[in-house]
Symmetry: C3
Subunit: 268 residues, 3 copies
Amino acid sequence: MDSGRLAEIWSNIARIRPLILHLSNFVVMNEQAHVALAIGASPLMTLHPDEVAELTAISQAVVINIGTPTDEGMTAMREAGVAAAAYGRLLLLDPVGYGASALRTSLVDDLLSTSRPKVIKGNHGELAGLAGRGGSVRGVDSVGATDAASDCRTVADQYGALTIATGPVDYVSDGGTTVAVHGGVEMLTRLTGTGCWLGSVVVACILAAGNEVEGAVAALVAYGIAAEKAHGRAGSAGVASFRSAFIDALGSLEPSDFADAPKRIVPS
Amino acid sequence: MDSGRLAEIWSNIARIRPLILHLSNFVVMNEQAHVALAIGASPLMTLHPDEVAELTAISQAVVINIGTPTDEGMTAMREAGVAAAAYGRLLLLDPVGYGASALRTSLVDDLLSTSRPKVIKGNHGELAGLAGRGGSVRGVDSVGATDAASDCRTVADQYGALTIATGPVDYVSDGGTTVAVHGGVEMLTRLTGTGCWLGSVVVACILAAGNEVEGAVAALVAYGIAAEKAHGRAGSAGVASFRSAFIDALGSLEPSDFADAPKRIVPS
Amino acid sequence: MDSGRLAEIWSNIARIRPLILHLSNFVVMNEQAHVALAIGASPLMTLHPDEVAELTAISQAVVINIGTPTDEGMTAMREAGVAAAAYGRLLLLDPVGYGASALRTSLVDDLLSTSRPKVIKGNHGELAGLAGRGGSVRGVDSVGATDAASDCRTVADQYGALTIATGPVDYVSDGGTTVAVHGGVEMLTRLTGTGCWLGSVVVACILAAGNEVEGAVAALVAYGIAAEKAHGRAGSAGVASFRSAFIDALGSLEPSDFADAPKRIVPS
């Protein structure tokens, strides 16, 4: 992918203004909505089973993030998965804390088998768990996953889903091809929810690209570029200033920002 | 209303420090509390039916915002409506996403008939739905409402409630008189929840004014002025910087900021 | 405690990176996670009863904050209290709005008797209620508590818990010794949730100190220093700018920042 194509995908988001239904967690819901709006998408949020089918029908994509499960919310997630399949909507699953509790593990396993999400996005530890290599999560944080590219490919293959593994290096795999995306700054790990927000950016980019791999790669590239711009502008002030600067940057990337983007993408 | 009266209403908020009970949505709850505190009110938040009557009794006003309905929260909203009527507390209803799902539509219709809110505040699309002209919402965002002033008047008349329609131009109507309030910046639509936060500002201003129309107009005028100040200070940096600057501005408006305010208010 | 010891405790947080399980309220959950991460801890959040025991087992401490109770969340809090006792995890209870409703009062009383939290942290009004002197809360805000040091000691004694009373002056008591901690800025009271965030900082410092009184005092001292730095940098811009600057400051305190710290600590 050249820089022109990446910039085109990014600017397409605001042009198509996709309506993205979110069933997300209480910690990140506010900032995830801010991020989705900032990049030009239109976020819609619910956790109620009784409106999930209707809201899925009017949306272009659905993001399910299990970070703070409730009984009602889990029912809504199952309904959303079924509705997304029924209406052919792009469904992304973010298995937050997979492996940290039996509740999360069984919810995710259930959603994977009944909803067949088109995209799975997790950190290295969560993907290690999904790939059948447990023991790499600490709460909702990833620790010491040593073979992220391979886990990413395994999960993609196992679930027939485009899979994104986030970490110091990000990976995208459709089972066949696996690509590493470099970039970003360490400070992203000192802000809660940046992995969760990314879910919204990924589906927006896939819709804007009309292609899953290209969209996912564009999202990761843009995320890294925005993080680096934000770090340059506000990183020295601290994490909260960086947070604002990062959302600012996501909302104002220009085509020229993608000039060096292709070298961030490395076949794996 | 002259600028002195508008400034007086605004500064009265901090003097009377109204306790405002919120039953609000998960996306905006944090920032809505920040905004309420910033302008000098005292926010209190719950979604539990069993404490709603007691908390209504100690509050001066109740804001119900249905943005992320849960079964328990909807029960609490119904209880809050009943309690507000019983205790004579100022009740504002924000029908987020009215028309987007049967669940939201029936909840709002139910609250309107059983609680008789004194104030209804929605975007142009939601008010078009309430006025019986559907099809103007897209998720929780308004699209293409063409007759907002008339819808605002219709809803006010239909429900016997002061009605506020937010959009590129805002309208306030008590059924008899309808007023347009100009101001604000387009960037407000790129921040999630700014319409929701306004609900808290409106009830605070109504309590501070001791008059519904004057309070609602003062709230809309102040909101527009604060948004313009924030845009001047931080708009070029991006949406998150604008967000901070907007809350900063709401928390520090001075009487002199209202100097040009009267010309923003136009009979409709 | 000398400044070297205070700085040592603070820097220990990032070294031990404690996993802190939070059962917290919807208003503050996002910022509480940001603060916990900023100071070097690792936050984990849930409100679901079925995963509370497992998540407690992998955590070093548990923070229960009852600010927006739900039925499911209250069950989870009770389970977390039992699990913390069973696993010997440091448990802090934040009785938000104690006295404001029967629901909150009975939940807190229940948690106190069944979970025996090691730390209780509340504002002056909440502690006056816990000490058996009601009538000092207004919603979730404290008003006019006149004998905070004595209430703090009474609660510590009554419940056998290290007790922290926050207000214009903060107090820490283990029943025997009571210490006043001076510092901070008035603007903290114009931001929602700063008292709630402190709960996370207190348990992180206690774990980092290996001592309850020293940890609690270090947390209060650091909080005051960070607030003053933030106020100097951004206080004049407004509350939202102060909020960012405060979280920035919490995330970047240096040993030299503690130079004048000992004089903030006064036996009471």
